[in-house]
């Protein structure tokens, strides 16, 4: 190819750099403009909205369900993540691959899957008969949040555990500590940052969970109405100020937890921000 000389090339270089920068600027404008519009619409009536029984209910229900589902995620993700971080077997590979499935699915499909399992099978009916009724209940919201988030949490905690050297654990063991003691005294403390990050990001995702919860728990006002469902319900009935209040709360929580997550420096970036548009 013919070389067109230094001047031509430096013009191309500058134009290339400039256009990359300009596209970035356009994206920033798009994002800040749309998000700040919610604040602009939401802030004036924010105080009165916060006093409405419906928003208060939604906040309480969101906190209640997200805290429980996050707790359940921690309790199950830690052992699974540790197993995956330490065992390199075919079985570990299978677990890992299966865990990827809910990550790849749109949450609304996950919701349908849960609805089928717990609503139409003997297994679901049996659980319902002993008091674990998930379909169209608050328990269903928790289950939906759990199902969508637990693989994600496993991945983040997996990264944290993988960064702890097995040789450090070996040393602890040769100093007289069995595997469980080593895990508690060495591995957990060293993975603390990553686990904290996982907890915060999971909690924020649980607060925003919409699709799966909608399918499994339904959208019943003042019954299964979490913040995102409240936003949805109020948008569809034209209660704009309530909708904006719910959206504002969600934005604040999401952005704050994102900052904390990045700040904890787990080495993971937020790859999956959900498919609902809330996250």
């Amino acid at each position: 190819m013919k070389n067109k000389g230094g001047f031509y090339n430096s013009i191309v270089n500058s134009a290339f750099r400039l256009s990359n920068f300009l596209v970035g600027i356009l994206l920033v404008i798009l994002i800040t403009a749309s998000v700040s519009l919610i604040f602009i619409r939401g802030i004036p009536d924010f105080k009165t909205s916060l006093q409405s029984a419906e928003i208060i209910f939604a906040i309480k229900l969101s906190l209640y369900t997200s805290l429980i589902s996050t707790f359940l995620c921690i309790v199950t993700a830690i052992p699974v993540a540790y197993y995956l971080a330490r065992v390199k077997s075919r079985f570990a590979f299978i677990i890992n691959t299966v865990l990827d499935v809910p990550l790849a699915l749109p949450p609304i499909v996950s919701g349908v899957a849960l609805l089928l399992l717990f609503g139409t099978t003997e297994f679901g009916r049996h659980l319902a008969s002993i008091g674990l009724q998930f379909v169209f209940t608050v328990k269903g919201i928790i289950l939906a949040q759990y199902f969508v988030n637990v693989p994600y949490m496993v991945k983040v905690i997996y990264t944290a555990f993988s960064s702890v050297s097995t040789r450090m654990e070996f040393v602890a063991r040769s100093l007289g500590y069995n595997q469980l003691e080593t895990f508690v005294k060495i591995t957990l403390p060293l993975a603390k940052g990553g686990i904290m990050a996982a907890v915060i990001i999971t909690w924020a995702k649980a607060l925003g969970e919409f699709g799966a919860a909608l399918m499994l728990a339904g959208a019943t006002r003042l019954k299964t109405e979490t913040l995102p469902l409240s936003l949805f319900l109020n948008m569809s009935t034209g209660e704009l100020s309530l909708a904006m209040a719910a959206a504002t709360i969600l934005i604040v929580i999401s952005v704050a937890s994102l900052l904390v997550f990045e700040g904890l420096g787990s080495g993971t970036t937020v790859l999956d921000r959900g498919k609902d548009g809330v996250w």
């Binding site: 070996f170 063991r173 040769s174 007289g176 069995n178 403390p189």
Partner: protein, 343 residues
């Protein structure tokens, strides 16, 4: 007294494999396993410590089969090249970590005080490991394992990450520990100087197998195979035919050889620094060759001489100048019989 014994131990782990290792370490020995990097030395040490179970073979400690004994019950002290101090604990808590399991706290504290004085790390107790220099970290790592009074100390390239000064200081430290505590030490390294300086016994590990073991003197002066001799850096290793009393490499290179006593030799070896210039009246092994290469080094001059085989000769600068040697010269040299070796 045999302390540690490995019988036909094999293990495959990722890219590393060790095959059919037989090893015996007696109480009080300083045993150095010497081998190039990536030959599975660390895996061997980790099997002894109980971090991996061998695919085949058995490990014995004082005649007790410990192959399936968990690491935490073996009471062996393990020190890695990169120290592996617990970064979330102070130096003091690192040192007391294992001791808390073995002794009441007051006794552990006493032991710590003594060790810390011995190793000169008393001023570091409240610091965190990441703020320490390499040499300091390694001292802390040593204190952390010595405090539990391990049956055997397993050192995985303990000096490799240190700068030359700390390396030398810690070698002395290790020697002192070996003498003062009468600890049995199994130390692996790729560094000859460490082996020469520290070892009472040496094993050479090549490609996942132990090629030769013995006292340090035996191994260094009598390598028993081509692999070991090559690894030990012996420059002249020449194949040939052994016939009663002589070893013939080619028509010109014929050496006197010891009686075979039933064994057969297929290589002769001698160090380049044992070759002497000039002839030695009365000795059979005088040779003439053409100088084909000269390499000037800081402390010596290395010649390549063609006698059908390339022979390497190491000279001092003075000798080199006295003989005023240049490429293409024909020179005469001899190899003292006492410096010849065969396998």
């Amino acid at each position: 007294m045999v302390m540690l014994k490995l019988e036909n131990v094999s293990k495959r782990l990722g890219d590393f494999a060790i095959n059919n290792i037989n090893l015996q370490v007696d109480r009080g020995q300083y045993f150095v396993i010497l081998g190039p990097s990536g030959t599975g030395k660390t895996v061997l040490l980790e099997i002894i410590a109980g971090f991996h179970r061998p695919d085949q073979g058995r490990v014995y400690l004082y005649d007790k089969d410990i192959t399936r004994l968990p690491a935490e019950a073996r009471k062996m002290g393990f020190v890695y090249q990169d120290y592996m101090l617990f970064p979330h604990m102070t130096v003091k808590d690192n040192i007391l970590f294992g001791a808390r399991k073995c002794f009441p706290l007051s006794q552990a504290m006493d032991k710590m005080k003594r060790l810390v004085d011995l190793l000169g790390i008393g001023h570091l107790l409240d610091r965190y490991p990441l703020t320490l220099s390499g040499g300091e970290q390694q001292r802390v790592a040593l204190a952390r394992v010595l405090i539990i009074e391990p049956t055997i100390l397993l050192l995985d390239e303990p000096l490799s990450s240190l700068d030359p000064n700390s390396k030398e200081a810690l070698q002395l430290e290790l020697k002192r520990i070996h003498e003062e505590f009468e600890t049995t030490i199994l130390h692996i390294t790729h560094d000859f100087n460490e082996a020469i300086n520290l070892a009472t016994h040496v094993g050479v590990m090549i490609n996942g197998t132990l090629a030769q073991t013995g006292t340090a003197h035996e191994v260094f002066s009598h390598p028993n195979s081509l692999e070991v001799a090559t690894f030990l850096g012996i420059e002249n290793i020449i194949p040939g035919r052994y016939m009663d009393g002589t070893f013939k490499c080619n028509e010109q290179l014929v050496f006197p050889a010891p009686p075979a006593n039933g064994q057969s030799f297929s290589y002769i070896y001698f160090s380049s620094k044992d070759v002497r210039l000039g002839s030695e009246p009365g000795s059979g092994n005088c040779f003439q060759g053409i100088v084909t290469g000269i390499s000037l080094q800081k402390d010596f001059v290395s010649l390549s001489v063609d006698v059908g085989h390339q022979i390497r000769i190491k000279l001092s600068h003075r000798e080199f100048n006295d003989y005023s040697i240049s490429c293409g010269n024909k020179i005469e040299f001899h190899v003292p019989v006492s410096s010849l070796g065969f396998f």
